[in-house]
Amino acid sequence: MADEQKPEGSPPPQSADAEPPKPEQKPAAPAAPKAAPPAKPAAPAAGGHAAPPKPPATMAATPWTSDLAKELKERFTDRIIETSTYLGQNFIVAKPDSVIPVLEYLKLEADFDYLVDVTAVDWPKRAERFDVVYILYSFARNERVRVKTYIAEGYKPETAVTVHLAANWLEREVFDMFGIEFAGHPDMRRILLPEEWQGHPLRKDYSIIQQDQTWVRENLEIESGQ
């Protein structure tokens, strides 16, 4: 198993770049004999440099067709980028400024009244660096749906506290760990780490042994936290 590990901090989107083009490449492959496979990842990567494919787009998701998905598309038109299903789980990708209206619509019109979780995923190589993910559940339908949006670094998504009170601490944790500030949040402070801490640990460029040395020295009076 050890040799399979990726080196620490290796940029994961790379492998995402490498994998998906394989099927497209296959028809062309017969011309190139066996030696081709190692070369393959390099070629599409070079071609894809200008517009790197979004990693979530490489997920083998199928379109989600249901009444709800249709309703959402009709109502929000192009503000909904995608409605898909993966492993039987439905998700919606909305434009960053439409997330709150979508959450509101889902809560009021479709009974998705329980905000299970708010979290984020960091894709440092992508232009829109972060996924912000809202997981919803409906007691009436016994159904889950994820609302996702892709935002660039520095973009301040609107808070969901106005729709679900549960978002309060969850968004604070996202801010703490990723440095995504939510506009209009009543109490946008760190929640788990000390308030003076510098850096956001769940960003991919934050090494696992990294810490805020100044904070550690000043508050714990030691040189290293270990």
Partner: protein
């Protein structure tokens, strides 16, 4: 942090914790008081933050498995079950039937162990010293079974992705059944001590009320939600590990106060015994490990899988980029989300109530802070 204006009036700011016996760990609550009345609270958490989600990104899927035990350490088996199910979902596999039944038995026993620790410490907070000795005595027997099964009592790492590592030991079924027979009357014993006890009732009735709508608004799940009258339990509404095969009730109450939450958890222990008995009678023969490669490498994608942990909905949102290490593991901790409702529950109450309410929320700070 409360601002200095608090001190200009007759209001008093009182710091409770982080080293306070009734905060069940390192929780600090800043109380804003007017006499004995609570005007507002603020929780300061993070003292136990170990960066579990960051660690996950730097371990393989299998290597991360033992770490999840350290979140809610009094219900480590539930944590492990949730994680294994999430990775199995990503791999699109299922544990073999025999493994699923053994998982259910151990998870339910862990639910009892978790509820026993809650009952003992909750009663201790309220001022009843006796129950904690009884509860820990009974919990000990459950921990002994865990130890006999996998060698560990608390952070068990009992399950593996794809099934189980260990076959059940000789006499496992008898041990579980003996535990069930011996334990069930003990629940009545606790109820005799507490349910109609005047001090207990007086301290708990109408304290820390959270209505069903408020629960949903705050995302509060588990016994707290059920005590508010919502018949919702993931084992029933979205069954996993074969829970649909067992006959059991979801206890609910109507008032959503601390006393009702106590009654719900007491009944849950009885229901867990019921599930364990059915499961022991139905352990099938067969393999305990599914077809999982030596290298666990889920396809690019993401999944959210949640289970009914003793504290509420415990979820794992896993993103894979096709490598052997998860790209992102998000843990949806029930304790963290439930704790958020603390302020709503104690506002306007008396300062003594906060001890009862922290107890009844049944938080584990290892899970709040991760």
């Amino acid at each position: 942090m409360p601002d200095a204006t608090f001190l200009d009036s007759t209001e008093l700011v009182l710091n409770m914790g982080p080293q306070h016996p009734s905060t069940h760990g390192v929780l600090r609550v800043i109380l804003k008081l007017d006499g004995e009345k609570i005007l507002g609270t603020e929780c300061v958490i993070g003292y136990l933050h170990r960066g579990v989600e960051k660690i996950a990104e730097n371990r393989t899927f299998a290597q991360f498995n033992p770490y999840v035990d350290r979140m809610d350490y009094v219900a480590a088996i539930s944590n492990g079950l949730g994680y294994c199910l999430a990775v199995e979902k990503m791999l699109n596999i299922e544990a073999p039937p025999r493994a699923q039944v053994v998982r259910v038995i151990l998870t339910e026993m862990n639910r009892i162990a978790s509820h026993l620790l809650w009952l003992g410490t909750h009663a201790l907070d309220i001022g009843a010293i006796t129950p904690v000795f009884y509860c820990l005595r009974e919990r000990e027997e459950a921990l002994k079974i865990f130890e006999k099964y996998c060698g560990a009592r608390l952070t068990t790492h009992a399950f593996r992705i794809g099934g189980l590592l260990y076959e059940t030991y000789d006499g496992f079924e008898q041990d579980v059944l003996a535990f069930c027979d011996w334990f069930l009357p003990k629940v009545d014993e606790y109820e005799e001590l507490l349910t109609n006890n005047r001090i207990w009732v007086g301290r708990l009735k109408n304290v820390g009320v959270l209505t069903a709508d408020e629960c949903k608004e705050y995302g509060v799940t588990g016994p707290v939600l059920r005590a508010a009258g919502v018949k919702w339990d993931l084992r029933k509404v979205q069954p996993y590990s074969g829970y649909e095969k067992y006959d059991f009730e979801i206890p609910t109450r109507q008032n959503g106060d601390t006393y009702d939450r106590y009654l719900v958890r007491m009944e849950e222990m009885r229901q867990s015994v019921r599930i364990m008995r059915q499961a022991v009678a139905a352990i099938p023969e067969g393999p305990i490990m599914g077809k999982v490669g030596k290298v666990i490498k889920p396809a690019i994608g993401e999944a959210y899988v949640s289970i009914e942990a003793p504290k509420g909905e415990l979820g794992y949102y896993i993103v894979s980029d096709g490598a052997t290490q998860p790209y992102r593991v998000r843990v949806r901790p029930p304790s963290f989300v439930n704790l958020q409702a603390l302020d709503r529950m104690v506002r306007g109450g008396l300062v003594a109530d906060i001890v009862a309410v922290i107890g009844t929320l049944d938080i584990v700070l290892g899970e709040v802070d991760r």
